[in-house]
């Protein structure tokens, strides 16, 4: 009996090139119930699913899409380690499911030739047969199967065609445990060098560990010989091994002497194998058929039309993110408000009510309001990705992004961040280079997201005169708003350049990228991806962001004691309440007294806020924010807005006696807040706090600061470490402080 048939759970690894429909096949096999996590220490996403195979639970591991199993970084090493059973967090792989794009077989089989060398039972899923057919290619599958010596199953993952046959082929491959031909694509000279190195390694391993450690698999020895980047040497070869490095060098020299230079020999040998395997398999039309995809590509990468379509597509996405999301956001806001009101009415006044209404509903609600925007953005991103336009966008924008040390692949993530940094940060997954990806993640929150808009609009409306410039063509208020967006863009460009020159320095990653054929996006995949990412956002809002909101609420509520309240405000309120109580329902005096009662309540709320831990913190940092032109109230509001920056206006509203529940989306509330700000005076000198430089300094601060717990949490999730969100918060806060300082100090001297 074969050992694998005894195990109750089987493990299958899904490997394939990007753009082969790998995630579609994964969903077709395992359904939408997928477990997504991270491999410790790297930024690679770990995706697991399961299905029933011959009565056995079969676990599928979706490995990141790659063109080659030639690890040059810890992230790339994950796939190889999973396949070779070298990871403790993934069960050893029983079989490999390799998906290949039938319309692009040559290049796809390169990866397969590496997979076959691992010596695992392998099944090939031949996907996109329809696209191959539209290109006029005829594939002799039986012949391919014979020449490769591996089961090949035709599938159309997006239509669930061939999935049952695929499962049957997997079952029999696991059952027989048959490893594939094992015929090495390399010339005998190379194989001899590998055998030699393997011997050297085995001998030294035995000596070192008394035979306890298992020898390095042949595939990794090959890689060691082929890897000129030095990554594998450092990873696989322990210290003090100069002699071994000498062995490696000698082997490479011998190979070069024999006419097989490393690393070119790998591609030569493998493409040679591909050529042999594919001989007489593909019948091509005599004339190359110009497909619809070709026509589309000519249009979409055209100098003028391509640019135009790109700009229009981005405009369409953005306008729908803002326009279509607006009613939904309003609805969510209304539901949350209603929920808060009902809850508030059913609870007696006290800390619990305040916690639930102001802390939990106020905090998490202010984040959840952005869910429609995030979902719509994810929807479009998923479409762009699935139809093949994402790669074209990177292609079109690459030259632009090279100037800031990034590549075209960073463009869409950064653009998305103008709506919300969360989908922006998550969209960086298309960037395979780690340094580029980190740089993009770190600067994405500098883009002015939609949560900054209320801050800008309130302050601009209140303090920037509505003056027309340049003969009425330009409007000062609009110009200021534009300048705020520009501040973020310029800061992002500078930070990206600095990061790429210092912390994330390294060779420019290659922009050698496939431009996949266009295809209709599959609605299922788009919806699954949107729901998946939307859910992970909601999940986080329900855990970490909730916890942060509760803690910040506690800081702004406690100790809930104030001498001022006890001595004057509370008695005054009680007196008013008693007078109102004594009046009958429609006494004319009511109309006069009720607003006064509300004002007294607001004054009490403000007094409590002042004496809360948060208020004390605000006052403690006043010396630090004074150079920005801020009094302690603004400092306090800035701290209170740590969970979400749009909270700052509401926090200012509380401080300025407007009570909780100020809605800066409403014009009347905006005007009330603006009036209070205009009247605010310094506690000590009695001078007005706000003027244009102060308003600008607040805006610049909020343009650059990292006051968004959700973004920081998403950065943690994507980088798999708290180090990067901590760094983001630190650098952005320093940048925001310096920016605000410069704005105020220069503004006051003009």
């Amino acid at each position: 009996m074969h050992p694998t048939t005894l195990r109750s759970t089987l493990t299958v690894a899904l490997v394939g090139n990007p753009n082969t429909g790998k995630s579609t096949l994964f969903t077709a096999l395992a359904g939408v119930r997928q477990r997504v996590g991270n491999y410790p220490g790297v930024t690679v996403e770990k995706k697991l699913g399961s299905f029933l195979l011959d009565g056995h639970r079969c676990q599928v591991v979706d490995l990141p899409g790659t063109y080659s199993l030639a690890p040059r970084s810890p992230d790339e090493m994950v796939a190889v380690d999973v396949l070779l059973g070298r990871r403790s967090d993934v069960a050893p792989v029983d079989a490999v499911l390799s998906i290949v794009d039938a319309s692009n077989l040559e290049r796809n089989l390169y990866l397969l030739s590496q997979v076959l060398e691992l010596g695992l039972p392998t099944v090939v899923a031949l996907n996109m047969v329809d696209i191959a057919r539209s290109k006029g290619l005829k594939i002799d599958v039986a012949r391919l199967r014979r020449q490769m010596g591996v089961p090949v199953v035709e599938v159309q993952a997006n239509r669930q065609i061939g999935v049952a046959e695929l499962k049957a082929a997997l079952a029999s491959a696991v059952e027989s445990g048959s490893t594939v031909g094992g015929e090495s694509p390399f010339p005998p000279e190379f194989q001899r060098e590998v055998a030699h190195l393997q011997g050297v390694l085995a001998a030294s391993t035995e000596r070192q560990s008394n035979g306890g450690a298992s020898p390095l698999p042949r595939y990794l020895v090959e890689r060691l010989l082929l890897d000129t980047s030095g990554y594998l040497q450092n990873t696989l070869v322990a210290h003090r091994s100069d002699a071994m490095l000498g062995e490696l060098r000698a082997s490479r020299d011998r190979l070069a002497g024999a006419g097989f230079p490393v690393p070119a020999i790998e591609a030569q040998s493998r493409y040679g194998w591909v050529g042999r395997v594919l001989s007489d398999v593909i019948a091509r039309p005599p004339e190359r058929i110009i497909t619809r995809s070709d026509h589309l590509d000519r249009l979409l990468t055209h100098k003028i039309w391509g640019t135009l379509v790109f700009v229009l597509a981005m405009l369409l996405i953005f306008s729908s993110v803002f326009v279509a999301a607006a009613p939904l956001m309003k609805a969510i806001d209304a539901v949350i408000g209603r929920f808060g009101a009902v809850l508030g009415a059913s609870l007696s006044p006290g800390p619990l009510k305040s916690l639930l209404v102001d802390g939990v509903i106020g905090g998490v609600g202010s984040v959840l309001v952005f869910l429609p925007q995030i979902l719509i953005l994810f929807f479009f991103l998923a479409i762009l990705e699935d139809c093949g336009y994402m790669a074209r966008a990177a292609y079109l924008m690459d030259k632009l992004m090279v100037h800031v040390g990034l590549s075209g692949k960073s463009f869409i993530p950064l653009l998305s961040s103008f709506a919300c940094a969360i989908p922006g940060v998550m969209a960086t997954r298309v960037i395979e280079n780690r340094r580029d990806r980190l740089t993009t993640i770190l600067v994405a929150p500098l883009m002015s997201c939609s949560a900054r808009l209320p801050v800008y609009t309130v302050l601009i409306g209140a303090f920037v005169p509505a003056r027309r410039l340049a003969g009425g063509l330009l409007q000062l208020q609009g110009l200021t708003l534009f300048a705020m967006y520009l501040v973020g863009i310029v800061a992002a460009a500078v930070v990206a350049l600095v990061l790429k020159k210092t912390l994330l320095r390294g060779p420019t990653p290659p922009f050698v990228m496939e431009l996949p054929s266009y295809k209709w996006p599959s609605p299922g995949i788009v919806l699954v991806r949107m729901a998946d990412r939307g859910w992970s956002f909601v999940h986080r809002a329900g855990t970490l962001i909730l916890a942060v909101s509760v803690v910040v609420w506690a800081a702004s509520y406690y100790p809930h004691r104030s001498v001022e309240v006890d001595d004057t405000l509370a008695p005054a309120r009680d007196a008013l309440a008693a007078r109102l109580q004594g009046l009958n329902e429609n006494a004319p005096e009511r109309a006069r007294l009720e607003p006064r009662l509300a004002e007294a309540e607001n004054a009490i709320a403000a007094a409590y806020q002042r004496d809360s831990f948060l208020g004390r913190m605000g006052r403690a940092i006043e010396p630090a924010v004074r150079p920005l032109g801020w009094d302690w109230r603004i400092g306090c509001a800035a701290i209170a807005s740590f969970p979400a920056r749009e909270v700052v206006m509401g926090a200012l509203g509380v401080i300025y006696n407007l009570g909780r529940g100020l809605d800066v989306g409403e014009q009347s509330d905006q005007d009330r807040l603006a009036a209070r700000m205009h009247a605010a005076r310094w506690d000590d000198s009695g001078e007005l706090v706000y003027n244009i430089p102060v308003a600008l300094s607040i805006m610049v601060f909020f343009a650059l600061c990292a006051q968004c717990a959700s973004t920081l949490v998403v950065i943690r999730r994507e980088t798999n470490s708290w180090r990067w969100p901590a760094f983001t918060f630190a650098y952005m806060t320093i940048l925001a402080y310096l920016g605000a300082l410069a704005t105020y100090q220069i503004g006051m001297r003009l």
Binding site: G41, R86, R87, T205, R207, S214, A238, R240, M244, L546
Partner: protein
């Protein structure tokens, strides 16, 4: 009277929220020391979660007298 139970509930909620945040932060400090080194492409941080099956490569090339400088081969000799 309801002041007391409200305060108590709130205290529990706030403490658990604080505790949760502290735990998450602490875990990330303890568990992921090696995580996120983006600055160096050559650092030998192994991505292996298992006790790394590294092999120390030592000179044993054909016939070379393996007089290693560290002299740490008694086990090998014993074999």
């Amino acid at each position: 009277m309801n002041f007391d139970w409200q305060n108590l509930t709130v205290l529990v909620v706030v403490l658990s929220a604080g505790g949760y945040l502290a735990r998450v932060a602490w875990q990330s400090v303890v568990r992921r020391q090696a995580a996120g080194c983006g600055s160096c492409g050559h650092c030998p941080t192994s991505s292996l979660a298992v006790e790394p099956r590294l092999v120390a490569l030592q000179p044993i090339s054909g016939g070379a007298p393996a007089v290693s400088q560290n002299g740490s081969q008694p086990e090998a000799a014993a074999k």
